[in-house]
Amino acid sequence: MNMIPDAVREFKPADYKSAVKPVWCPGCGDHSVLVSFQRAFAELGLPPEQIAIISGIGCSSRIPAYVNAYGFHGVHGRSLALASGLKVARPDLTVVVASGDGDGFSIGGNHFLHACRRNIDLTYIVMDNRIYGMTKGQPSPTTEPDWDTAIAPGGTGLSPFHPLVIALASGANFIARGFTGDVGGCAKLIIEAIRTPGFSFLQLLSPCVTFRPDQQKQWKSTVRTAVVPETDDPGRAARRLMTDDGFNVGVLYRGHREPYRPHPIADLDPARLEAEFEV
């Protein structure tokens, strides 16, 4: 038990390492996300007990158990709802939500819209590998239309979902993209996302080395730091995100919306409510 006041507690990335060994494949981008988490938390100086990492189901959603922090590995697609309830009940905690492209954009799509709209002070990190990895290779909402799979022979023929555009249109206050090939860059973006009040959405391109090795090893040479600096103008951000090819990395939009913080008005004895019923 650490009895040193937080102000003088210093943290190293290793302080956020748990004893649980990841189930991820060697080379999976999610390993880098885990390291980025640890670096970001250490740099922010967050006591492990003040962090809660909330996730759903999928490869990426296994991350809470690998971090020395409080965590909740819930059901498929509902992490944002669970995290919203937690943050409103416990505004003192740093709540980070971890998800994947299937968990976050398909089964959890509706919660994504409403989490952006509500703008609760959460950091939402989606490890996007354009594939359902845990169920062994089905197309997700961000998969290219012509990618051939057993469940969609010849490809889905469907346009990929553009999560950053959706986030902007739905009201997210911070929108960024990173690539797991650059751990330092990811850690920086995580720090920015946590520091920015309101709902922060961070898409991390996280290659799946098992089911999409050929396509995604190209990502290293495709990603580029966004040439245009971040904007707080939603109109400019919309144009930029709509025309973006999915590989511009960095903070792409940061707004000034006030976070949603419902809170108690008073702490009366419930007996005071009895007057409502007396006749």
């Binding site: 965590g71 819930g74 009940a89 409403h114």
Partner: protein
């Protein structure tokens, strides 16, 4: 056949089209009677229209507490006849009833003619026009008060109290309308309101949904997440303005999948949490309730049941969500299911449900229903109960903390985020005592045993059931079916039929020993419920040892089980 000897009460239904002010008038009548020291019940019935449409306010008044509708209506007061036939099945009238209708309302609809009730006509609309700002419903209430022997002044005072002293002109015109109605009350032999025995006391006027909300707040709920759904919305609406006054927060979710997960998240953070819904919403929450079981997160889900399946009849009651509440979860997922036994009992049952969820670190599904949730009763001021134990949390200086440690009670201390040294991941995956995901048989079985064991070893005896009466004939019922049976058991006693009524407040986990003790000496058991398939009867058969002689009585909604119907079940079972 002998007339049942129920406690004397007077049942009045006010009907009219939308905008006629039927509901307000009903509430005024209830308030007026309450001020005279009577108890009462008001239930509402409306057509499917969002706004307007036909409406019926059903009121039962008595000098003794009444919490379920009576067998018949003594009086039907029709402000007009628009679509009143839609209520035909809900309005039992007979030759002893009196219909009071507006002279300009046209011919008596066929079902009212067929009832053979006496009819009295009153030019309500015409009289109302003669008063500036006069309302038809006030004229009608004035005449009604005169006819049944309720002091007109009580109506005027009730109006003044509800519209407030801020609008003196409105109060004055209402008073004029009431007095005009009274002065012009038709010549008719009307059933009289018995005011003898009526005595003012410390009373509450409360709906089942309000009582549920208040019970939850008394139980310590600090977070509510919910999605609007009939007939549960009033719980959310009532808590939206009261909970923030008592240190809590309510959030409207985007759907029920979100509301259940919000409450799980808040509870994980240490806030006792609740959501309220109806059958369709409960169906959506089921997967996440399994998560609450596996992660041992306390949550309360109130299901205000309505007729199902699917959308069913959103505004009408039924006890048909028992199966999903008990069996809906996949895997072996022990949890608690409770049911309030009346409008006023929503208070105790909600508070107890929060206590059980917190103490046992498990989800509790509380099965209320539309007939008690949306009905208002005037009741004796209920006691303020307190249920000691609350959530067991990790103490300071916990060494080598294991969230899911196997303990004697099965309940293990829960670390609340913010507590140093308690870091763990709550998980829906099978896990070991530390919470680490595991696919080992030993961990799976160990945790299944833990979660089952904490329920098996808990003592539910204080509130598991309400038991009254004695006899070789026993009735087992649950939830809202209890109240008409209570009246029926009392009436049966006056006929010399001894009956023991066992009304279960705790549905799951089953309590075979407690029921066996309660059934000692019973030779025949009647099981009464409001479902089509006999869900409760089948549940009892599966989990309890019952006497061989069983009479299952299951009938679906939407019509309420009335005391006379319940008495008939008892008489029949006692005869054969």
């Amino acid at each position: 056949m002998t007339q049942p000897r129920f406690a004397p009460s007077l049942s009045i239904v006010l009907t009219g089209s939308g905008g006629a002010g039927v509901m307000t008038a009903g509430q005024t009548l209830l308030d007026a009677a309450t001020s005279c020291g009577l108890y009462g019940l008001m239930t509402r019935s409306t057509g499917p229209q969002i706004r307007g449409g036909e409406a019926a306010a059903m009121i039962r008044l008595s000098s003794r507490p009444v919490q379920c509708p009576g067998d018949r209506f003594d009086i039907l007061l029709a402000l007009d006849f628009d679509n009143v036939q839609r209520f035909a099945a809900e309005l039992p009238l007979d030759a002893g009833s009196l219909i009071i209708a507006d002279s300009g309302a046209g011919d008596l609809p066929d079902f009212l003619k067929a009832s053979q009730a006496a009819t009295a006509w009153l030019p309500m609309a015409k009289l109302a026009k003669s008063v500036k700002g006069g309302r038809v419903s006030m004229v009608a209430l004035g005449a009604l008060a005169r006819l049944i022997g309720l002091p007109e002044s009580s109506i005027v005072e009730a109006v003044a109290a509800s519209i407030g002293r801020k609008k003196p002109e409105a109060v004055a015109s209402s008073e004029q309308a009431v007095l005009l109605g009274a002065a012009n009350a038709p010549e008719a032999k009307a059933p009289q309101l018995s005011l003898s025995g009526a005595a003012p006391g410390a009373r509450w006027s409360i709906t089942g949904n309000e009582a549920t909300g208040f019970g939850a707040i008394r139980g310590g709920v600090k977070f509510v997440g919910g999605y609007p759904i009939t007939p549960a919305t009033e719980i959310l609406e009532w808590m939206a303005h009261t909970l923030p006054q008592c240190g809590g927060v309510l959030m409207q979710a985007e759907d029920e999948l979100a509301s259940i997960n919000m409450v799980i998240g808040a509870s994980f953070g240490g806030a006792p949490a609740l959501t309220a819904t109806a059958g369709p919403g409960l169906s959506l929450m089921i997967e996440s309730l399994g998560l609450a079981v596996a992660s041992e997160t306390p949550v309360v889900v109130v299901d205000v049941m309505r007729s199902g399946p699917s959308t069913g009849i959103a505004t009408k009651s039924e006890q048909s969500d028992l199966n999903i509440a008990v069996y809906g979860l996949h895997g072996d997922a022990p949890h608690v299911v409770t049911a309030p036994l009346s409008i006023s009992d929503c208070l105790l049952t909600a508070q107890w449900s929060v206590h059980l969820a917190e103490t046992l670190q498990t989800p509790v599904i509380m099965l209320s229903d539309q007939s008690i949730g949306q009905a208002r009763a005037v009741i004796d001021k209920p006691p303020n109960l307190s249920f000691g134990t609350q959530r067991l949390t990790m103490g300071a200086n916990a060494e080598n903390y294991a969230r899911y440690a196997l303990t004697e009670s099965g309940v293990s201390p829960m670390a609340i985020p913010g507590a140093p040294g308690g870091q763990y991941t709550a998980d829906g995956l099978t896990h070991n005592q530390k919470g680490t995901p595991s696919s080992q048989a030993q961990d799976h079985i160990g945790q299944l045993d833990k979660r089952q064991g904490k329920l098996d070893r808990f003592d539910f005896s204080a509130h598991w059931a309400d038991i009254e009466g004695e006899g070789e004939l026993a009735i087992i019922t649950w939830g809202s079916s209890a109240e008409p049976l209570r009246e029926a058991v009392e009436a049966a006693r006056t006929e010399g039929i001894g009956v023991k009524l066992i009304a279960l407040r705790l549905i799951a986990p089953a309590q075979p020993e407690l029921l066996a003790a309660a059934l000692a000496g019973a030779k025949r058991v009647v099981i009464v419920e409001q479902s089509h398939s006999g869900q409760f009867w089948r549940y009892l058969r599966a989990h309890y040892d019952l006497p061989a002689d069983i009479v299952p009585i299951a009938r679906p909604g939407p019509l309420p089980i009335r005391p006379g119907e319940a008495l008939e079940y008892i008489r029949k079972a006692a005869r054969s």
